[in-house]
C-alpha cells in the first residue's frame, strides 16, 4: 500500500477503478456466445457464424456474438411484421407504459450498463455513467410521453411499419435509444443492428425488453457486421431505414434504397467548426474544446474538430489550451479519473495515426502533451494542430479521433466562410459574449445543431441531425417523430400514375395545322433569373392538345439550362432573408395576378388538357386558393423553443433549404405547379421548376404573372423539357439542396439514386398520383416541413 505520507507529497489522484464484477459475471454467463434477439427470444444464428467482441483498452476478447445472415434478418423482419399490427393498434397510453418501463429499467441497471458500455467501447466510465446511460433513459422517458400524446398531436398520421435501424459504435446504447424510443412511441416495430464492435449493451437492452414484458417481435436485435446491415437495408419487408454512421455508408444506403419506397433518415459524419471570437470567455472556450474533441476520444459525429480562432487572441487561446491538455488523463476507461479512454479498435487507431501523419506532412504544427499513455491498448493522446490550412486533409476529412485542427480568421464574415467551407453540416459551436454576434453567426452557419458558448449538449426534447452531407432527418423532439410517421392517406391504396408512353420531345417542326388568320406567335422560352431565356441547345418542341394539334412550342431545356437556373437561384439569397411578411405579400400578389388572368389560364387548361370548363375553373380557383394558403403560412410556420435544460433556450428554427428543384407531374398542370412551388418559396427557398412536359404552357404562362408580382429574379426559375432527364441533372447538382419529384416510379428511383451524390433530401411520389384538388393530400404542413430543415440553436443564459 502506498503510504499516506508519500501521497501527501505527491498529491496524486491514485487509482479509482469502477468495479466491473457484475458486467464480468454477465459476460461469463454468456461465455458460450450471444444469439440474436428475435421475436422475444435469443436465437442461434441460422448458419452458426459468430464474431468476437473485444475490450479495446485491454485488448482482450470479452464476448462472442452471432454474425447475422440474410436468413437471420429475414426471420427478424417477419417477427417485426407480425408484431406491428397489434403493437400499432395499442392505445398510446399502453405503449407509453411500455416505454416508461424501459426507461425505468435502464435507470435501475445504470451501473451495469455503464460498466458494460465502457468495457465494450473503451470510453471512460465517467462518460457512460454521467452521459450515455442517463441520456438513454431520458430518451425513453421523453418518448413514453410521445407515445401517450402521439395520436392527438399528429392527427392524420400513422406509423411507418417495420423499421430497420443501424447504429454506430461510438454511443452504442444511446444511439439505440435514439432509434428505438421514437420508433416504438409512434407505433412502429424495429429490427436493430448494433455495430459490429459494440453489440453488448444492445443485447443487455434485449434482456431488459424481456424483463419489462415488451410484446415479442416489437424489438428485434440482430448482431453482425456490415453484411448484416446490408441485408437489413435490402430486405423488402422493411418500410423505413434509419442509419447513423459514416457518410460513405449513408450514400450507399441512399443508392440501394432508391425507388424502393423505404423511408430513410441518415445521420452521418461531420467536421464541425468550433469558433472562438475575441470577446469570448477564453477559459470557458478551452473547456469547450475539451468537451468538443476530447469527449469520447473524439469519436463523435458532431465533434468540434475544426478550431477557428480570431487571429488577435489565437496565441493566448492556444497557450491556455496547451496548458489544459497537460492535465488531461488518458488511460483505463474504468478508472473514474480518466478523461480519455481507448479508441474503439486497432483499425480506428491506425486511421487516426495515418491522418495525423498526413497533417504533419502537410505542414501543420502538431502539439501533444507530455502525458503518460498506457503501455498497451488502443490509446491515442489528445492532439492539437495549429496553422492548418483550409485546403489541407485534416481540415477536410473527418478523423473521428482526439485530434483538432486549428486555424485563424480575421472577421466574423471570414469565420462564417471558413465554417461553412465543408461538405458536412452537422453541428457548430460559437464562443462570444456578444449576443448579436453569436446569433448572427448561428443563423449563418449551415448546420443542424448550433451551440452558443457550449458544445455537445444533447437532450431528447431537441432535434438532432445534419445539413448537407451530414444527412437528413432529425432525431429527438417533435421534429424527430415525423421520421417514424406517415400521412394516413399515403398508407391507403392509391392511384398509380399511368406511366403512359409519351413520344420523346422532338425538336423537329410539326405539321402545320394553323387555319385562318394566324395568331401572333407566342413562344414560351425558359424562365431563368427573372428573364425569359432561349434554351441553350436552341431547340423547342411542339406542345400538342389531346387531339394531337399543335398548341405552340416550349423550350427544350438541357443540363446547361439547369446549370444556369441553379446559378440564378443560388444568387437570389435575398429571398431567404427578407421577412416572412414580405414573402407573404409577394405570394398574395401572385394570387392576385393569377386571378386577374383566371380566364386565360382556364382556356389554356381546357385547350391543353381537354378538361371541361367547369374542371378548368375549379383548377384555377384551387391554384389561387393554394397560393393564398401558403401566403398565409409564410409567417406562421413557427419554430419552437424546446424544453431541454434549465436556463437554456433551445431554438428550433425552420430554415429553408436554399436552392430546391421541383419536378412537376402531368396531371393538374397549373395546380400541381402552384401546390409545389408556393410552399417552397413561402419558406424562403429559391426553386428550379420543371413543369409537365406534356402540358407545360400553363407553367410558361406564369412568367408574366411572376414578372408582375414582384417575385425577385431567380426565386422561381422554370425549365421546360424532358422531366426525367432534367430531374437527373438536378439530383446530381451539388448546389441543389433538396429535390421534389412527382412523376413516374422509375423516375423516382432515378432521382433518389442520383441524389446520393450530395445526399440532398428528396421527396418523390414513386409514381403515385395525388389528388391535387384534395387539401388533405395536396396542401398543408407536410409541404412546409419538407420545404425546410430544422436548425436547433442552444443558447445557455445566465449572469
Amino acid at each position: 500500500m502506498v503510504l499516506v505520507k508519500d501521497i501527501l507529497d505527491s498529491m496524486d489522484y491514485g487509482p479509482s477503478p469502477e468495479a466491473n464484477d457484475h458486467a464480468s459475471a454477465w459476460l461469463e454467463q454468456h461465455a458460450g456466445g450471444f444469439g440474436h434477439f428475435i421475436d422475444g427470444a435469443f436465437v442461434a444464428p441460422a448458419d452458426g457464424a459468430m464474431i468476437d467482441v473485444f475490450d479495446p483498452a485491454r485488448e482482450t476478447q470479452i464476448a462472442r456474438v452471432a454474425q447475422g445472415s440474410v436468413a437471420d434478418i429475414d426471420r427478424a423482419v417477419v417477427a417485426a411484421r407480425r408484431a406491428f399490427k397489434p403493437w400499432s393498434a395499442l392505445p398510446g397510453h399502453v405503449r407509453a407504459r411500455h416505454l416508461y418501463a424501459l426507461a425505468r429499467h435502464i435507470q435501475k441497471r445504470e451501473r451495469f450498463l455503464s460498466v458494460l458500455e465502457s468495457m465494450d467501447n473503451g470510453k471512460p466510465i465517467r462518460e457512460t455513467r454521467d452521459i450515455d446511460v442517463p441520456l438513454a433513459a431520458r430518451h425513453f422517458y421523453h418518448h413514453a410521453g410521445w407515445a401517450e400524446l402521439c395520436a392527438g398531436e399528429f392527427p392524420d398520421h400513422v406509423p411507418v411499419g417495420v423499421c430497420g435501424q443501424i447504429i454506430p459504435w461510438n454511443f452504442p446504447l444511446l444511439m439505440l435509444a435514439w432509434k428505438i424510443a421514437p420508433a416504438l412511441a409512434a407505433g412502429n416495430t424495429v429490427v436493430l443492428k448494433p455495430a459490429e464492435f459494440t453489440p453488448l449493451t444492445a443485447l443487455a437492452f434485449a434482456e431488459i425488453c424481456l424483463e419489462v414484458g415488451l410484446p415479442r417481435g416489437v424489438v428485434n436485435i440482430v448482431t453482425g457486421d456490415g453484411s448484416t446491415g446490408a441485408a437489413l437495408v435490402d430486405h423488402a419487408g422493411v418500410d423505413k431505414i434509419a442509419f447513423t454512421g459514416s457518410t460513405e455508408i449513408g450514400r450507399l444506403i441512399r443508392r440501394v434504397t432508391a425507388g424502393t419506397g423505404k423511408k430513410l433518415s441518415l445521420e452521418l459524419g461531420g467536421k464541425s467548426p468550433f469558433i472562438v471570437f475575441e470577446d469570448a470567455d477564453l477559459d470557458a472556450a478551452v473547456e469547450g474544446v475539451v468537451d468538443a474533441i476530447w469527449f469520447n476520444q473524439g469519436e463523435v459525429c458532431c465533434a468540434g474538430s475544426r478550431l477557428l480562432v480570431q487571429e488577435g487572441i489565437a496565441d493566448r487561446l492556444y497557450r491556455k489550451l496547451r496548458a489544459r491538455m497537460e492535465t488531461l488523463r488518458v488511460g483505463d476507461p474504468l478508472d473514474k479519473s480518466t478523461d480519455i479512454g481507448a479508441v474503439v479498435a486497432p483499425v480506428q487507431l491506425d486511421r487516426i495515426r495515418a491522418l495525423v501523419d498526413k497533417g504533419t506532412q502537410e505542414g501543420a504544427q502538431l502539439f501533444q502533451p507530455s502525458i503518460a499513455l498506457p503501455a498497451r491498448g488502443c490509446f491515442y493522446p489528445p492532439t492539437l494542430f495549429t496553422g492548418v490550412e483550409p485546403a489541407s486533409t485534416i481540415a477536410e476529412v473527418e478523423i473521428f479521433g482526439p485530434v483538432i485542427a486549428g486555424m485563424t480568421f480575421r472577421t466574423p464574415d471570414e469565420a462564417v466562410a471558413l465554417a461553412n467551407n465543408t461538405r458536412y453540416g452537422l453541428a457548430g459551436s460559437i464562443w462570444s459574449e456578444n449576443i448579436d454576434r453569436a446569433l448572427d453567426v448561428a443563423a449563418r452557419l449551415k448546420a443542424g445543431v448550433i451551440w452558443i458558448n457550449a458544445t455537445n449538449l444533447f437532450d431528447a426534447a431537441s432535434g438532432f441531425g445534419g445539413y448537407r452531407e451530414s444527412g437528413f432527418g432529425r432525431e429527438g423532439g417533435r421534429e424527430g417523430l415525423y421520421e417514424y410517421l406517415v400521412p394516413v392517406w399515403e398508407k391507403k391504396p392509391g392511384k398509380a400514375r399511368k406511366d403512359a408512353a409519351r413520344p420523346a420531345l422532338s425538336p423537329l417542326p410539326a405539321a402545320g395545322t394553323v387555319a385562318g388568320l394566324p395568331s401572333i406567335d407566342r413562344t414560351a422560352k425558359l424562365y431563368v433569373g427573372g428573364q425569359q431565356a432561349r434554351p441553350d441547345g436552341g431547340h423547342s418542341y411542339s406542345v400538342v392538345d389531346r387531339a394531337g394539334r399543335s398548341l405552340g412550342q416550349a423550350g427544350l431545356g438541357n443540363r446547361k439550362d439547369i446549370r444556369n437556373a441553379v446559378e440564378a437561384a443560388a444568387k437570389a439569397t435575398g429571398w431567404s432573408t427578407v421577412t416572412a411578411h414580405n414573402r407573404a405579400q409577394v405570394l398574395y400578389y401572385v394570387a392576385e395576378n393569377l386571378a386577374a388572368r383566371g380566364g386565360e389560364f382556364e382556356a389554356r387548361l381546357m385547350s391543353m388538357t381537354g378538361i371541361t370548363a367547369k374542371a378548368a375553373a375549379a383548377e384555377v380557383a384551387a391554384a389561387i386558393r393554394r397560393t393564398f394558403h401558403y401566403a398565409a403560412w409564410a409567417d406562421k410556420f413557427d419554430g419552437a423553443v424546446h424544453a431541454t435544460r434549465a436556463r437554456h433556450v433551445t431554438l428550433a428554427m425552420n430554415e429553408p433549404w436554399g436552392v430546391m428543384g421541383i419536378v412537376c407531374p402531368d396531371e393538374a398542370p397549373l395546380l400541381a405547379v402552384m401546390s409545389l412551388v408556393m410552399p417552397a418559396i413561402a419558406m424562403g427557398n429559391r426553386v428550379i421548376v420543371v413543369p409537365s412536359a406534356r402540358h407545360p404552357l400553363a407553367a410558361t404562362d406564369l412568367y408574366q404573372v411572376l414578372d408582375t408580382s414582384d417575385v425577385p429574379a431567380g426565386v422561381v426559375n422554370i425549365i421546360t423539357g424532358e422531366p426525367d432527364a432534367l430531374a437527373k441533372v438536378l439530383a446530381e447538382h451539388d448546389e441543389v439542396s433538396a429535390l421534389w419529384y412527382a412523376g413516374s416510379k422509375s423516375g423516382s428511383a432515378a432521382v433518389e439514386a442520383a441524389a446520393a451524390g450530395n445526399l440532398k433530401a428528396t421527396w418523390v411520389d414513386h409514381g403515385r398520383a395525388r389528388d391535387w384538388l384534395d387539401d388533405i393530400q395536396a396542401q398543408g404542413r407536410d409541404f412546409l416541413r419538407r420545404a425546410t430543415q430544422v436548425k436547433n440553436i442552444w443558447v445557455p443564459y445566465g449572469e
Binding site: 500500500m1 501521497i7 491514485g14 454521467d130 473514474k336
Partner: protein, 334 residues
C-alpha cells in the same frame, strides 16, 4: 522579517506557511481585466462536472483529507467568542485529529495541524498565546469585517492593532461599493494601503463574492486586489447570503492563473463559508489541482475557511482507519 510592533508579545517565528515569495503587487493595470468575459453557464458546467471527472479513494482519499486539514483556517467569528472559546479552538487546531488516527495513518512523526486559527482582532491576543510554540499562525479578520463600512482610517487602525497583537495574517474585506461601481482605482488604493498596514503579515483579500454577484465583477475585483498586493484572495466572509461556491472559486483561480502569467507571482486562494463536508474539501482540492496545479495544494497557497468542516473530515478518516462509521462524540470539539 516583520517590523516588531508587538504589544507585550515577544517577536515570534512566523509560520512556515508564510515562507514564500510575497506578492508585492503591481501598478493598476486596467488592461489586464477590462475586457474580461466570464460565462456563467460555462463556469457552472465546468464545476458541475469536475468533481465527477476526478476521484480519490482509500488511502489517497485519507491523504487528501489530511491535506485538507492542514489547509483549514479553523475559524470562530461570533459575537459570543471569549478567550476560553478561542483557547479551545486553538487546542483543536494543534491536534485536529485523534492521536490513534494519526498513528494509524503513519503520520505520528509529523502530525498534521491546521493552517491557521482565524479570529476577530480582539481575540488575536488569546489565540497567539494559546498557539505559542505550535507554529500555527493566527489570522485576524479586520477592516470593519464583515461589511467593511467603517472609515478607512479605522479600518487601517484595526489592521495595525491585530498585527500588533501578533496576527501573522490579516483577512481584510474589500469595499463592495467600489467594486460594484467600477471604482477600481479606489479599490486598488485602499487595498494597497491595507497591504502597507499589514507590514510583514500576509494579506488575504475577501471579495465577498456573494455581494459582487456577477462573475465578471469577481474576476475584476480579484485581479485588482492582487495588483494591490494581496497574498491571498478569499471568497467570502461567511456572512453573505451566498458564500464560497465552485463557480466563483473557478473564476478566482483563473484570475490567479492570469496574474501569475503576467507577473510570475503565485497568489493563494481561500474559499470560506459553506464548506462543511469532506466531499466539499475534496472537490475544492481537485479544483485547485486541476486549475492551478500541485503547488496550490499546500497551506502557503490554499486555505479553507471553515468551522464545522473538520468534524466531518475526522469522521471520514476514522472510517478509513477502522472500517466503521464514526460518531461525532468520539472526536474532540473545537
Amino acid at each position: 522579517m516583520r517590523s516588531d510592533v508587538g504589544l507585550g508579545h515577544a517577536p515570534r517565528k512566523l509560520a512556515l506557511a508564510n515562507h514564500r515569495q510575497r506578492n508585492e503587487g503591481t501598478a493598476l493595470q486596467m488592461a489586464w481585466f477590462d475586457a474580461m468575459q466570464v460565462n456563467l453557464s460555462a463556469a457552472e458546467r465546468r464545476t458541475a462536472t469536475l468533481p465527477a471527472r476526478r476521484s480519490v479513494k482509500k488511502e489517497y482519499q485519507a491523504a487528501w483529507l489530511v491535506k485538507a486539514v492542514t489547509c483549514i483556517d479553523l475559524t470562530t467569528l461570533a459575537g459570543d467568542d471569549t478567550p476560553g472559546r478561542v483557547r479551545r479552538l486553538c487546542a483543536k487546531g494543534r491536534r485536529p485529529l485523534r492521536d490513534d488516527l494519526v498513528a494509524a495513518l503513519g503520520l505520528a512523526d509529523d502530525p498534521p495541524r491546521v493552517g491557521a486559527i482565524c479570529v476577530y482582532p480582539a481575540m488575536v491576543g488569546p489565540a497567539v498565546k494559546a498557539l505559542d510554540g505550535s507554529g500555527i499562525p493566527v489570522a485576524s479578520v479586520a477592516t470593519g469585517f464583515p461589511a467593511g463600512q467603517t472609515p478607512l482610517a479605522q479600518r487601517l487602525g484595526e489592521i495595525r492593532y491585530a498585527v500588533g497583537e501578533g496576527a501573522a495574517e490579516i483577512d481584510i474585506v474589500i469595499s463592495r461599493a467600489q467594486a460594484l461601481t467600477g471604482d477600481w482605482q479606489g479599490l486598488y488604493d485602499e487595498v494597497k494601503a491595507m497591504r502597507e498596514a499589514c507590514g510583514a503579515a500576509h494579506l488575504k483579500a475577501i471579495l465577498a463574492t456573494g455581494d459582487l454577484k456577477t462573475l465578471r465583477n469577481v474576476y475584476k475585483a480579484g485581479m485588482v486586489a492582487m495588483m494591490a498586493g494581496a497574498d491571498f484572495i478569499k471568497t467570502s466572509t461567511g456572512k453573505e447570503d451566498v458564500n464560497a461556491t465552485l463557480p466563483v472559486s473557478l473564476v478566482m483561480l483563473r484570475a490567479i492563473r492570469d496574474y501569475q502569467h503576467q507577473t510570475g507571482v503565485r497568489v493563494g486562494f481561500k474559499p470560506a463559508g459553506g464548506l462543511r463536508t469532506a466531499k466539499d474539501a475534496l472537490n475544492w482540492l481537485i479544483l485547485m489541482k486541476e486549475e492551478l496545479g500541485r503547488p496550490w495544494l499546500e497551506p502557503d497557497l490554499f486555505r479553507i475557511g471553515a468551522s464545522s468542516l473538520l468534524a466531518d473530515i475526522e469522521r471520514q478518516i476514522e472510517h478509513f482507519v477502522t472500517g466503521r462509521y464514526a460518531a461525532g462524540h468520539h472526536h474532540a470539539v473545537g
